[in-house]
């Protein structure tokens, strides 16, 4: 039954004592765990070094914030609070280090806070290129990757050969293919694959071993096939803007209950930040460099040199045959909120209806959002009938 699989995933992603991680590590004393924050992280590289990459996407509504608020003013988003809370509560005891990708000033500064708070633990601010010329940004990024790889080799005590890296890329390609197949099915039959279920299944991959997760995604899809879920109608929407701090699962369910079929979204963008599978031959670091320069998905944290973001969203709407867009951004998230007026205007120009609201990962009240989303879904129905 797909519901059982989803329940297992929900348990896994809400287990902030990271029991899975503990057991994974305990199975072999040479194993190491690298935590990372959203979005863009070269997981195959960590995997090749014998590490379990574990994405910390925030603590959601499950983590009560007691200490975290003492570190951040009220006008900073919520994700770093729950992250610090978990850290101060010793929840990351099995982690050997953390990567802080360069996606915004908050995560950037969090990397420095981490260095101050936990001086003995490996912490890397992982700089991504905003220049997409292979000779400039590409060269710089490859150097960053090489440094990261060298650091991982020190942490694991294991030299990584190019063949190891290629094998990891292959395993992540399989995972990527499984997730994109799920995305495809969601677009085709969203009533069979509710976004709230898909979310839990994909997010489990932020914690699990890659191959185990690939199997899980396939098992889930097979289970849905076997369940022969009945058709139900709704307004097809793309949700945009939630690429870093994640909306609470109940918020996604609220949108669904309000009559939205979420056919595409940018939740958990890190699980599929490249737009195609990666080549499996050649130099592993070159492949990962090229992946970011040429294949990385747009997000508000990545410079948009060719002004593609508006077309990108419109294309997403067209490909998923969506009736409208819900812009859904974390409160106080500069990258997402600064993009909002541009993207909204672009949708207006193209006659694509949109609505927007903000959330925090610990939002607990959904009544207002339900009403707003319900009204929007109804208007989309009318609009599409017209």
């Amino acid at each position: 039954m797909p519901e059982h699989i989803v329940r297992r995933c929900e348990e896994l992603i809400s287990d902030f004592s990271f029991d899975y991680v503990r057991r994974w590590k305990a199975a072999d004393p040479t194993r190491r765990v690298m935590g990372f924050l959203p979005i863009y992280v070269p997981r195959p590289l960590l995997h090749a070094a014998g590490m379990l990459p574990v994405g910390i996407m925030g603590g959601g509504s499950q983590v009560e914030i007691i200490k975290g608020d003492a570190y951040f003013q009220s006008y900073i988003c919520h994700l770093p609070r729950s992250f610090v809370e978990l850290a101060m509560d010793g929840k990351f005891a099995d982690f050997d280090g953390f990567l802080f990708p360069s996606i915004c000033d908050v995560i950037r500064n969090l990397s420095g806070m981490w260095k101050l708070l936990f001086p003995g633990l490996y912490a890397k601010y992982f700089d991504l290129p905003q220049n997409f010329d292979p000779e400039l940004g590409g060269k710089f990024y490859r150097q960053e990757l090489a440094k990261l790889l060298a650091d991982c080799e020190v942490l694991t005590g294991r030299k990584v050969a190019n063949a190891d890296l290629l094998e990891s890329i292959r395993l992540y390609n399989l995972n990527y293919q499984a997730i994109t197949q799920l995305d495809y099915r969601r677009r085709r039959e969203p009533w069979c694959y509710p976004a709230s279920e898909a979310y839990a299944v994909v997010r489990a991959g932020m914690i699990m071993d890659v191959s185990e997760h690939t199997d899980l995604v396939h098992t889930y899809m097979n289970a849905v096939d076997a369940a022969e879920r009945p058709f139900h109608d709704g307004s097809r929407v793309v949700v945009s803007g939630a690429f870093c701090e994640q909306p609470p699962l109940d918020l996604i369910r609220t949108l669904e209950l309000a009559g939205c079929l979420i056919v595409a979204d940018d939740f958990l963008l890190g699980s599929r930040w490249h737009t195609t599978a990666l080549p499996e031959r050649g130099d592993g670091l070159d492949i990962l460099t090229e992946a970011y320069l040429r294949r990385s998905t747009y997000s508000s944290s990545r410079y948009d040199p060719l002004c593609e973001k508006r077309d990108h969203l419109a294309l997403q709407v067209a490909e998923s045959k969506a009736d409208g867009v819900i812009f859904c951004a974390p409160s106080f998230c500069d990258p997402s909120l600064l993009d909002l007026p541009l993207l909204q205007a672009a949708m207006d120009e193209r006659g694509i209806p949109s609505a927007h609201f903000k959330y925090a990962e610990n939002t607990g009240q959904f009544q207002a959002i339900r009403e707003q989303a319900g009204t929007f879904a109804d208007s989309l129905m009318l609009w599409s009938e017209r």
């Binding site: 003013q73 915004c104 950037r108 260095k115 220049n131 500069d334 903000k358």
Partner: protein, 424 residues
Amino acid sequence: MSTIHKEESMVMQKTMIADHFEQLARAQQEGRKVVYTFVPGNLTELILAFDLLPVHPEINALQSGMRKISGDYIREAERLGHSEDVCTYVKCDVGMLMKGNLGPTGRPLPPPDLLLLSYTGCFTFMKWFEILRSHYDCPVIMIQVPYQGDGRITPEMTDYVSEQLRKELVPALEKLSGKRLDEERLRALLQRSRVAEENLVWALESAKRRPSPIDAYFGGVYYIGPIFTAFRGTQACVDYYALLRREIEARLEAGQGPLTPDGLLAEEKYRVVVEGPPNWTSFREFWKMFYDEGAVVVASSYTKVGGTYDRGFRHDPARPFASLAEYCLGCYTNLNLPDRVQMLTDYVRDYAADGFLINSIKSCNSFSAGQLLILREVERRTGKPGGFIESDLVDPRYFSGANIKNRLESYFQMIDLKRQEQYS
């Protein structure tokens, strides 16, 4: 109305700024090309080497704040769909653009011929120019300046920035200006920068004396003006800093404190270090809260956003591109948190401060995220009391005068208490 006391250097700076905006107002008519760019990591010498005119949107925003018109601009941007949560500099700029793009002198600003995004230490810069790009039909050059995540500048970082300057920026500037880069001219500009930088550092470090002849935050924002903006590399800039130095020397000789808008500070009671940008909408009121209590800011991090010259950096005509790259990489906004803590700790010690204060800016994630930890760390390392106030750069809705005044008064009392403890 009481007279506002001004130093001669302030008057000189005012004239320099007025001339600059006059040139900008005539730019289109005279066929001069305009480059919009940001203060941290600005590449003024390169821009000037091509006879182009720089415009700094943050300066326009802060000027709008000081002239108390930023509130209207911000509301205009919010009316257009900009969130109340984001950086108010951006919204102020968007609102100003929508309302006719009038510069601080009331004359219209020309549209950019190039948006030069030398993206140092703040992601919002990137979003800001993506927004402006959608309003203007002009090229954008993005110079990525890697962040000092590990607290140091590596050779790879310097190479990356200088290669971007050579391969992307210079050709764009050549195309825009129709001129080839004259390296000798660039070197001459950098040499003048260096001379001015020496005097700026001397001025800032004069605050180590007791009483301090300057206020290194409220006065400091004037002192950094020419070097952080359109003038670095010019003779006017060199002259400005020479004049500033003479003024400070005179006060030092006379044993005088800093000049405030209400005249010379009679007695220096508290020496504090300040982290974070000031509030611009109530700048005078904010400053008065300090000098009325006899508080002098002896060092501040904000006066390093456009260059950490007091840590030894100087533009170097012998290595033009590498030194421009190192300049960008070294700006305060590009330092990691442990480095910021160390710098503030050093300031408290080197400037014999009684404590330090953080003015946390609601709009500015780049500065604000992590400041509560900075507060604790600096307090722990120095044993001096830390204070925390909150305001905004240019959104008047977030400046609560009474609240800040109360906090400051309690803070100064805390310093008194600490002193009593020491001597009892």
